[in-house]
Amino acid sequence: MREITFAQATLEAMDEEMSRDERVFVLGEDIARQGGIFGQFKGLPQKFGTDRVRDTPISETAIVGAGVGAALGGMRPVVDMHFADFMGVAMDELFNQMAKIHFMFGGQRSVPVVVRAPDGLTNQAAAQHSQSIEAWFLHIPGLKVVIPSNPADAKGLLKSAIRDDNPVIYFEHKMLFSEIGPVPDGEHLVPIGVAALTKPGRDITIVSYSYTMKVVMNAVSMLKNDGIDPEVIDLRTISPIDKETILNSVAKTHRLAIAHEAVKQGGVGAEIAAIVAEEGIDFLDAPILRFGAPFTPVPFARSLEAAYRVKAEDIYSGIKALFD
């Protein structure tokens, strides 16, 4: 299979969906003139015009709100948040308007908006440009939340998100944009709500997503030497959660670890752990392990950022200890 970058994969998704449906358009800051801060919109304005790839003022509140209004007016907007960290600026629009309109108005109208939110640690961007806040959105009925870890899923989930009639938050990790991986030729859709069993295994189920999947796979290599064979699940969608895939796996492996970059307290890992403690506790032969950032804002200095990150060694030694 051909290999392309994650950024390229999202570009293909946009290109295909914008070609397929004239109502699809993008709005956000600095996407048209320079193709997006991570190159993720490169070439789109040339192909589709700056009417459909629109640079906006620095007005996140209005941008998301206008996305919602444009959807009600018959369009299918993709709204770029620049950095996930700025979602707080538009939080009312995201949770009180976009997420609730369908329900609040008795199902009269759907709100097909995709919100793209580049998140995660990158190059010491510090406290306000590095966050992973996906867990908030897990707690908001009416939203779907996807978070790919590789180019193929990036493409397939973005296409599915654009076609979905519900509001979908699409988190894309900044460190992934330059990642290269195989992506099928032709139409490629990844269903929302279905986790991937990335690696079958026997001894423990590791649930993760986004950039942390890479960290997990490194830990898996390290565990091999110790004869430990984990099964790895890539959530891909955070809401709705694919409980079945998780529970089936834990039924087989009898152990569970969850890893994500966001701070551990109140993170997505808490919900996964709770689901298994509720519905699959009898499967478990060991404490559930959660790996996530310590409870602190993201620091700037290299030494501190390194300390903040969840590392393969942490996952390795945490899991290994279960078997000692």
Partner: protein
């Protein structure tokens, strides 16, 4: 005055009294404990929605506020479905899921009331963006209060609409109060219309209790928007006659203030006097319209009361499309 079309005059009157009677019925049934939640009445402000919406077709959009009943009715909503929604019945606009602050009727371009003050402003700008991208001849009117004019959403939406020349009219209903706070204590400009200056759009203030003045000013702004002239800001000066919500103790103003102003400015009696004085409509015509309107509201009440509550199982539907 002489050049007003009789049908239009009847429409003005019918809309205004329908709103008035609707709100009076709502007040009564709220105080009797039959309507729950929060309810904000439009009494005394009827001329605004009436004058504005008389310029709109069903294809045009409006975005509304927590005080939205009048906007709905003026845009042509079905009062049965409105009343049923207020009573929390499954025959209501939102199947009983929304209530007073969350009524919408997308079939007539009513994009929704909003429980968040200022929440509908960016939505209105977005609907106008859709209009412009789809090359439609529609316009969007965004109703909002004087209080809402101090929210960032107003600023961001006005700026966006201006740089993109969107067909949207920002229609501020300045009723002198934001809940308990008098206008001057929270708002730093004499006329909200003046804020238009900061967005290079026309800003006009009109007497919001004069349906003719509202109609004319809205007409100009709407035609401008419809013809590609971009957004405008219109401020309709009015006065909130009732408490902020039904049940408001109103400790922040005197009964005398309210009564005096209402006596002078009530848009409905003012309209009656004008059309009678000028011989534009007969007393009989006015009485007939009133009777009809009262019947419509009585029917709406009967409809709402006879409607069932939603089944608990409906809680889980309409969360996702």
């Amino acid at each position: 005055m002489a050049e007003w079309d009789e049908d239009l005059l009847c429409r003005f009157y019918r809309t205004m009294v329908t709103i008035r009677f609707f709100e009076q019925a709502v007040e009564k049934h709220f105080l009797a404990g039959e309507i729950p939640g929060f309810v904000h009445l439009y009494i005394g402000e009827e001329a605004i929605a009436t004058g504005v919406c008389a310029n709109l077709t069903e294809d045009d959009y409006i975005a509304s506020t927590h005080r939205g009943h009048g906007h709905c009715i003026a845009k042509g909503a079905d009062v049965n479905k409105m009343m049923a929604e207020l009573f929390g019945r499954r025959t209501g606009y939102c199947k009983g899921k929304g209530g007073s602050m969350h009524i919408a009727d997308f079939s007539i371009g009513m994009l929704g009331a909003n429980g968040v003050v200022g929440g509908s402003l960016p939505i209105a700008a977005g609907a106008a963006l859709a209009i412009s991208m789809l090359d439609q001849k529609r316009v969007t009117v965004a109703f909002f209060g004087d209080g809402a004019s101090n929210r960032g959403t107003f600023h961001e939406s006005a700026n966006l609409a201006s740089v993109w020349k969107l067909p949207v009219i920002f229609l501020c209903e300045n009723n002198q109060y934001a809940s308990t706070t008098p206008y001057k204590t929270t708002t730093s400009v004499e006329d909200i219309a003046d804020r238009a200056h900061g967005y290079s759009m026309p800003g006009v203030a009109v007497d919001g209790n004069d349906v003719f003045a509202v109609y004319e000013a809205a007409k100009a702004a709407i035609e401008r928007a419809r013809n590609g002239g971009g957004p405008s800001l219109l401020e309709a000066k009015t006065y909130r006659v009732k408490g902020h919500f039904v049940g408001d103790p109103e400790l922040y103003r005197s009964k005398e203030e309210v009564e005096e102003i209402f006596k002078k400015r009530d848009p409905i009696s003012r309209f009656e006097k004008q059309v009678l004085n000028e011989g534009l409509l007969s007393q009989k015509k006015l009485d007939d319209i009133k009777l009809e309107a009262q019947e419509v509201i009585d029917n709406a009440l009967a409809f709402a009361k006879a409607s069932p509550e939603p089944d608990p199982s409906e809680l889980l539907s309409d969360v996702y499309a």
